[in-house]
Amino acid sequence: MENLNSYLIVSAILFSIGTIGVLIRKNAIVMFMCIELMLNAVNLTFVALSRHLGNMDGQVFVFFIMTVAAAEAAVGLALMIAFFNNKESIDVEDVNLMKW
């Protein structure tokens, strides 16, 4: 096992890359993938700290996070399909139906 801090720093870098992706991309599906990247960075933190502290609760939490991510993927992609049927586009800048 490597040093704990190296895992945490990798996780921080991946989380920041995910944040940048969510902020700069226009395509809603790519934004969605960046959110998955951020969730995975958090999962890495959970597993590394669980191994370090000798407590398996963190890995059970990762399991639940994966379940929530799967549910989120299904509903989010359904929303994108519904939006594409209306607007013929999935750019977030075209989401302006409720804009004042």
């Binding site: 096992m1 490597e2 801090n5 190296s6 895992y7 720093i9 990798v10 921080a12 870098i13 991946l14 989380f15 920041s16 890359i17 944040t19 940048i20 902020l23 700069i24 991309r25 226009k26 395509n27 599906i29 790519v30 993938m33 998955e36 990247l37 995975n40 999962n43 890495l44 597993v47 590394a48 700290l49 669980s50 370090h52 502290l53 000798g54 407590n55 398996m56 609760d57 890995q59 059970v60 990762v62 399991f63 639940f64 994966m66 379940t67 929530v68 799967a70 549910a71 989120e72 993927a73 299904a74 509903v75 992609l77 359904a78 994108m80 399909i81 519904a82 049927n85 999935i90 800048e93």
Partner: protein, 168 residues
Amino acid sequence: MLTTLFFAVITFVAIVSAILVITCKNPINSALSLVMTFFCLATYYVMLDAPFMATVQVMVYAGAIMVLIVFTIMLLNIRVDATKKYTHKIVLGSIIGFFTLINTVFLLLKSRVALPTGPYNGEMIKQIGNTEIIGREMFTNFLLPFEITSILLLVAIVGAVIIAKKKL
């Protein structure tokens, strides 16, 4: 020494593919880079003595969720317009992301992690097995959240079908 080298290689691949996710113009390329990142994370889980988590990572994330995403991209058949911009507010977004990185790394370097308190050390995990420990925890201490998860999945199935339907 060899472990450190391996860790460095995996980290390099993970970060490069994560950057490719946010820079590729075509969503399919982003999705494939994301699969690469997920495999790197599965490798980290193996290095952290959590083989069950690595398997679930590959099957659920790299398998199920990415198939769903790639399927949606291909179903919608989005044309990549070469002239159209695919990003916005790059400078502002990069600054915010950079500050997130500085903040977290600063916090990590300045803080001290607690000493091991739980019962499972490396020897014990190898002896009992990661899967058995997780199974025991999940069906004793975490039984109620586990059952609630099933309701969440049911709601997600019904919601996805209703939202994606054209006419109710």
